[in-house]
């Protein structure tokens, strides 16, 4: 247990940090047990309860709470779990009595020392008494039992486990067992969200058979906190300055850029081909799709007809209406039948009245392994026909022989897959259920650090968080021969044609870093990426001030492929406008830059047609106009069509690209 004190400190600190951000009025107390000293109210009043120390009385979270966690003493005396629970419980009851509120006890223990016998009755009776108290005061307990892998489970441990599970069976506690520091960090819920139902009502199998269910979220992404923009305009003397920034949006007509259009004069429009169709919200309300609230079953189908990668969103859980025995039985019967027959149910859900669309998805059975938990269904959203994109890829068997692995290579891969096993029997490593989010862990500890030292640098990732982002060096060491075999069996080399310039520009691969250390090139890479595509806030349009940068920012926003297309379009529009509005070549320099940027991006994106077409079109249209000499400038800067050599998708030969301006001139004469 002493080995993971650091992790215990970390996980408890994160809990406190999150409370300091999200739940400022929560109260926290800390009890240590197995300490040499004894310090608790019960010991003073009643005697006994030795070696239990109240490190921090229950009070509203503040600096002191996290301070109390800083120096956790390594205990020297066998810890008595039940004593600690009683002391904690007693503190809570004393402090809050019967006032309303959410209360929980979190117990982190290795539960490996024998417990003292209670003065009267058995230990089991004592557990029952404690459980009754907890129930009466509506206190829930979370037990996290940490044991190093390979620890021998003696009779004492088994007894302790049994007692802890007895709490669970009395429905007052949840018990989890973890065996690595990383999963210990993930075992404690550091931020409790009050569960709210998504839907309460009937699961309609037919008009005649309705099962009452409640639907909750099973997974929901815990987001990175949204930080507010900071304004330093307030005078330093102003102690009550909010430092907030208000973001104001104004809608202005394109024709009269000085006139602000009031919100009630705005109307939404959707693109229909090249034109925009205006639709007022009242009109829209009258005709839009309005499904009736309800969850309807379409039918059952084989599990194999549902593809795992079609699951679209976070997952919901359908539980039978609490307290409704009939509904519980119905869900249980159907879930178990589905499980036996390997079937799933297809349902259509409208959670709320007035919802604009339906959720279409699949119910899969969740057979409970714990006696006092009901059977339930998981619900996953499936895509609609419109959501599936039919891209074609070559099947691997049709690839040329040079891309097919030899028998020897295949064996090396097989061995790697067998050896890098993260789920040996009974001991799955990196279970999502016990894997903390390294980014958030790091943020909250950095936040705490910054509160104390405003100019602190970002701390490196902690050792046990590294286990999540990188393979465990211990495993790697054990399996070295297989890993080396893989390296030897396959030959990887950089494409020499692509080696210079844009390979590094665009991807900044760590590919060539076989010999170098892993971290180093990526720093470099990110540097290059940051220079090439600097993060810009105002992504989405190309402005006069710095068109090339805006364009690159749009390209960098790769969250959706539409951005690339949009960036190209915007750039073309902008460049065309530049040329058309050019007087005596004043915009030439800028336009030249834009052409160059567009050309480069089109090569990077492997969209040579996009540029070639644009260049041809522009040239055709403007070659005889005022700006004809611009093309001489382009030609002199070697900005011509993108040739096959530069982008394989291009159908332009180098020769054609070189003679582009000449040929066109000849043709026009």
């Amino acid at each position: 247990m002493h080995g993971v004190l650091q992790e215990i400190k970390n996980i408890c600190s994160i809990l406190v940090h999150k409370k300091l951000v999200y739940n400022r009025s929560d109260e926290v107390g800390i009890v240590l047990f197995g300490t040499k000293e004894t310090c608790n109210e019960l010991a003073k009043e009643l005697g006994g309860y030795k070696h239990v120390t109240v490190a921090h009385e229950i009070k509203v979270v503040d600096e002191g709470t996290s301070q109390a966690l800083q120096n956790l003493p390594a205990g020297s005396v066998p810890g008595k779990v039940l004593d600690a629970i009683v002391v904690g419980l007693d503190m809570m009851i004393r402090k809050f009595g019967n006032t309303k509120g959410k209360r929980r006890l979190c117990l982190i223990t290795s539960a490996q020392h024998s417990l003292r016998d209670p003065p009267e009755g058995t230990k089991e009776d004592q557990v029952d008494t404690i459980a009754d108290q907890m129930k009466r005061h509506d206190i829930k307990m979370e037990c996290i039992v940490f044991r190093e892998p390979g620890v021998h489970h003696g009779a004492v441990m088994e007894e302790n486990d049994r007692l802890l599970y007895q709490f669970r069976n009395r429905s007052v506690a949840k018990v989890v067992q973890v065996d690595s520091p990383t999963s210990l960090l993930g075992a404690l819920k550091t931020r409790n969200v009050l569960p709210v139902t998504v839907f309460r009502g009937d699961l309609e199998v037919s008009s005649n058979l309705r099962i009452k269910v409640w639907v909750y979220k099973k997974t929901a992404e815990e987001k990175f906190p949204t930080l507010k923009k900071y304004s330093d305009k307030a005078p330093p003397s102003d102690k009550f300055a909010s430092h907030e920034v208000k973001v104001d949006y104004e809608y202005k007509s394109i024709v009269e850029p000085d006139k602000v259009v009031p919100p009630d004069q705005r109307i939404k429009g959707y693109l229909y081909g090249p034109q925009v169709v205006p639709i007022s919200s009242a009109e829209w309300e009258a005709v839009k799709f309005k499904p009736e609230k309800g969850v309807k079953l379409l039918g059952f189908t084989d599990r194999s007809s549902i593809l795992r990668h079609h699951f679209m969103k976070d997952v919901c859980l359908f539980i039978p209406e609490p307290g409704n025995t009939k509904a519980t039985l119905a869900v249980s019967a159907i879930a178990r039948a589905m499980h036996q027959m390997n079937k799933v149910a297809i349902v259509r859900c409208v959670w709320r009245q007035g919802q604009g669309n339906v959720a279409f998805g699949v119910l899969t059975p969740n057979i409970s392994s714990v006696n006092n938990v009901q059977d339930s269904f998981y619900f996953n959203v499936l895509p609609f026909a419109e959501d599936i994109r039919e891209f074609q890829f070559r099947s691997f068997s049709s690839l040329p022989l040079s891309s097919q692995p030899t028998e020897e290579q295949q064996e090396a891969a097989d061995n790697l897959v067998k050896m890098l096993d993260l789920a040996p029997p009974e001991r799955e490593i990196l279970k999502p259920e016990f894997t903390p989010n390294p980014m958030l862990e790091r943020f909250y500890s950095y936040l705490d650090l910054k509160a104390k030292q405003p100019d602190a640098n970002v701390p490196p990732l902690e050792r046990c968080l590294k286990r999540i982002t990188e393979p465990d060096p211990d495993i790697i060491d054990q399996q070295t021969p297989f890993i080396q075999n893989l390296g030897k069996a396959f030959e990887l080399k950089e494409n020499p044609k692509k080696k210079k310039g844009r390979t590094q520009d665009r991807l900044a691969y760590t590919a060539g870093d076989q010999s170098k250390s892993a971290a180093e090139p990526s720093v470099e890479k990110d540097g290059i990426l940051a220079v090439l595509y600097p993060p810009t806030e105002n992504i989405g349009e190309i402005r006069d001030l710095n068109p090339v940068q805006d364009f690159e920012a749009m390209l960098a926003k790769r969250s959706s492929s539409t951005w690339v297309q949009k960036a190209f379009e915007e750039m073309q529009k902008y460049t065309t406008a530049l040329l058309e509005n050019s007087r005596d070549g004043d915009n030439y320099h800028k336009a030249l830059e834009c052409f160059a940027a567009l050309r480069k991006a089109c090569i990077i994106e492997q969209e040579p047609d996009e540029f070639n077409q644009f260049l041809t079109k522009t040239y055709e249209r403007l070659k005889n106009g005022d700006v004809a000499n611009f093309f001489q400038l382009l030609s002199s800067k070697n900005i011509s069509l993108i040739s096959k050599e530069e982008a394989p998708d291009s159908d332009v030969t180098e020769e054609m690209a070189r003679s582009f301006y000449l040929k066109q001139e000849a043709a026009s004469q």
């Binding site: 600096e63 037919s206 909750y216 099973k218 997974t219 900071y230 305009k233 920034v245 208000k246 973001v247 809608y251 202005k252 007509s253 850029p257 705005r266 939404k268 081909g273 090249p274 925009v276 169709v277 005709v287 059952f300 990668h309 249980s332 339906v358 006696n371 006092n372 938990v373 009901q374 339930s376 996953n380 895509p383 609609f384 419109e386 959501d387 039919e390 891209f391 074609q392 890829f393 691997f396 040079s402 891309s403 790697l416 897959v417 067998k418 096993d421 789920a423 894997t435 936040l447 910054k450 509160a451 999540i468 990188e470 396959f490 080399k493 494409n495 991807l507 691969y509 492929s561 297309q565």
Partner: protein, 614 residues
């Protein structure tokens, strides 16, 4: 392109001409939503009037407004074209095939015009579709003139194909959509087989497939077609020494109704948005602020944007392999977002594909998925890489997305050779411990939770067998909300009077559920779980609840109390002394009259005044 024959010969309800106009209209309606950047031109041949740049006889290029002949379709084009039938004979008219006397080969001319139209556009795929019901365009003439005409026309088509291929087009095809006359079948071998270059068995197979094509064009799902484009190129570190290159693609993503453009409701001119940052304390206008802050322990903690992005960068690699797990470790609730598809690429690192293929086949054979860490700069995440074979898609029938119009230009081609799931790996984003909740443990009972008996499970199994969706595939279900959106948009754009009626495919099959076998299975299950008299009990309970349910009672009591209380005030004078009353007092009136009690004080007052009729 039609011969006039079927205007006279075909007196049926629906003429061939009508069928084709309908087909092209529908097809354009789908195209304008699915791929509105594709361009289209419509051209009639064998017409009385002529309208084309080359001034060739018998060819009429149809167009509206200031659109180029070959351009993106517009609402006006679709609208006008859909009612062309009424004015066709007056404005364009048609001739009786190619006659010996005229010496005009209109088909030849049409191909010539087509070539000129398709000159536009560079390296795109182009497609010509010919609709006709005349299998023997040169039937009216004989002798040397006929052979000569056939020869030159076929030659023309060949030249056309060659010309376009020369000009680096991605692909060009001429396709024929023949319509049979009522009394005889369309005879391909008379002329058109030569034109489109078919021989032998292909000819006999061509006719039925052409018929299908016509049907497909008329009855298509409105679906926005995405161009195949990789999302990112990632380096995938398998071990410290082996780092390969993979491309990621978004194969499944929710489709949204499309971007909203704000317009000025008076002039319908688009608006542009301007964003400004205002300091809350001083009201000063700021340039885009680069510092962020978070309230922590009641103090302001500042971060620079750079620091935040550094916090988020927890991994040195794009994608780092951690190990492998059996597939059953991937639970149904291990999901957060749509998956991403990865496919190897040798573009920058030779040998990547080979490593990937080897790994892929090992994983498939051993039933494992790879656990990897994806160092995405916005949300670094654990991912499961699940190998996917290129097995045929479940359910087979997929929406055929074939779009063909007379002279037709596409910016890309979709090939539908054998509908299969693509080979590669699917990257499934796994939740972290903080993302997983335990709602099943919220309502714990002290006793064991009830479990179904074997008898009940048997009845349920029977139910499952009865309500079975054969050949289920997600591609059978269109998004009713989205289809309705497209329908409304189309109706508004084309000025149609009636709103379209979109069939909701996600509703259960009521008829199927009413089949006696199904009803029996449901009843048996219900009896076994809920007991025989459940409906009756339920009805009684419901009626009992309705008459003197607790909640109803409580609500009534509150309303009564409120009306008593509100009676104590003189509401008529509210307008004068409203400001002096408390919110609680105001709410008592609202509750008594069953009005919403939300909002600020002013809102409450104005609501009461409205109710009083002032």
């Amino acid at each position: 392109m039609f011969t006039p024959a079927f205007f006279q010969a075909n007196e049926k309800q629906e003429t061939h001409f009508h069928t084709i106009v309908n087909c092209i209209t529908q097809s354009m309606k789908t195209q304008i939503i699915g791929r509105s950047y594709d361009e289209v031109a419509i051209c009639f041949f064998n017409t009385k009037e002529k309208k084309n740049l080359q001034d060739l006889a018998g060819v009429y290029v149809y167009n509206v407004g200031d659109r180029d002949p070959l351009d993106r379709p517009t609402a006006k084009l679709i609208k006008d074209f859909s009612c062309i039938e009424d004015s066709f004979m007056d404005n364009i008219g048609s001739r009786y095939g190619i006659t010996a006397g005229s010496r005009e080969n209109t088909l030849y001319n049409a191909l010539w015009v087509a070539q000129a139209l398709l000159r536009k556009g560079y390296t795109v795929s182009k497609r010509i579709l010919i609709f006709t019901n005349e299998d023997n365009p040169f039937g009216a003439i004989t002798g040397a003139v006929k052979t000569d005409m056939i020869r030159t026309t076929v030659q023309r088509a060949k030249v056309l194909l060659a010309f376009l291929q020369d000009a680096q087009d991605l692909g060009l095809s001429i396709e024929l959509l023949p319509l049979s006359r009522p009394d005889e079948e369309f005879n391909m071998s008379l002329f058109y087989a030569d034109l489109i270059g078919l021989d032998g068995d292909e000819i006999t197979e061509y006719l039925p497939s052409a018929g299908e094509k016509l049907e497909d064009m008329t009855d298509q799902l409105r679906k926005r077609i995405m161009k195949k484009r990789r999302v990112k190129t990632l380096s995938f570190a398998i071990t410290n020494d082996v780092c390969i290159e993979v491309n990621t693609y978004a194969l499944v993503r929710p489709t949204t109704p499309g971007t909203i453009t704000w317009l000025d409701s008076l002039s319908n001119i688009p608006l542009k948005t301007e964003r400004s940052f205002i300091c809350n304390d001083t009201g000063a206008l700021l340039q885009d602020p680069q510092m962020r802050f978070q309230m922590y322990n009641d103090t302001v903690v500042k971060f620079s944007v750079r620091e935040l992005s550094e916090v988020k960068r927890v991994s040195s690699h794009h994608l780092r392999l951690l190990g492998f797990k059996p597939l059953d470790c991937l639970k149904d609730y291990h999901n957060l977002r749509p998956s991403t598809f990865i496919y190897p690429s040798d573009e920058h690192i030779f040998g990547s594909t080979r490593v990937f293929v080897a790994l892929h086949s090992s994983m498939l054979r051993l039933g494992r998925f790879a656990l990897a860490f994806y160092g995405n700069p916005t949300r670094p995440q654990l991912v499961a890489l699940v190998a996917q074979t290129n097995k045929p898609k479940m359910g087979g029938v997929l929406q055929k997305i074939i779009m063909q119009i007379h002279l037709y230009k596409m910016t890309h081609i979709c090939l539908y050779s054998g509908q299969v799931e693509s080979p590669g790996m699917h990257m499934i984003y796994l939740p972290y411990s903080d993302d997983i909740r335990y709602p099943e443990e919220v309502h714990l009972t002290s006793d064991d939770a009830p479990r179904a008996t074997d008898e009940q499970i048997k009845k349920a199994s029977n139910l499952l067998k009865r309500i079975d969706l054969k050949d289920f595939s997600v591609s059978h279900f269109a998004n009713p909300g989205l289809q309705r959106h497209y329908g409304i948009l189309e109706a508004l754009a084309l000025g149609e009077d009636e709103m379209p009626d979109i069939k909701d495919e996600t509703l259960p099959d009521e008829k199927g559920l009413a089949r006696p076998g199904v009803v029996k299975a449901i009843d048996e299950f219900k009896a076994s779980v809920y007991g025989e008299n459940y409906d009756q009990e339920e009805a009684e309970a419901a009626s009992a609840k309705a008459s003197h349910g607790d909640a109803a009672k409580k609500r009534k009591a509150i309303t009564d109390a409120a009306s008593l209380k509100s009676a104590a005030y003189d509401w008529a004078e509210l307008a004068d002394n409203g400001k002096d009353m408390t919110v609680v007092e105001l709410k008592s009136y609202l509750t008594a009259h069953d009005l919403p009690v939300s909002g600020k004080k002013e809102a409450l007052i104005s609501r009461i005044l409205t109710h009083l009729g002032k």
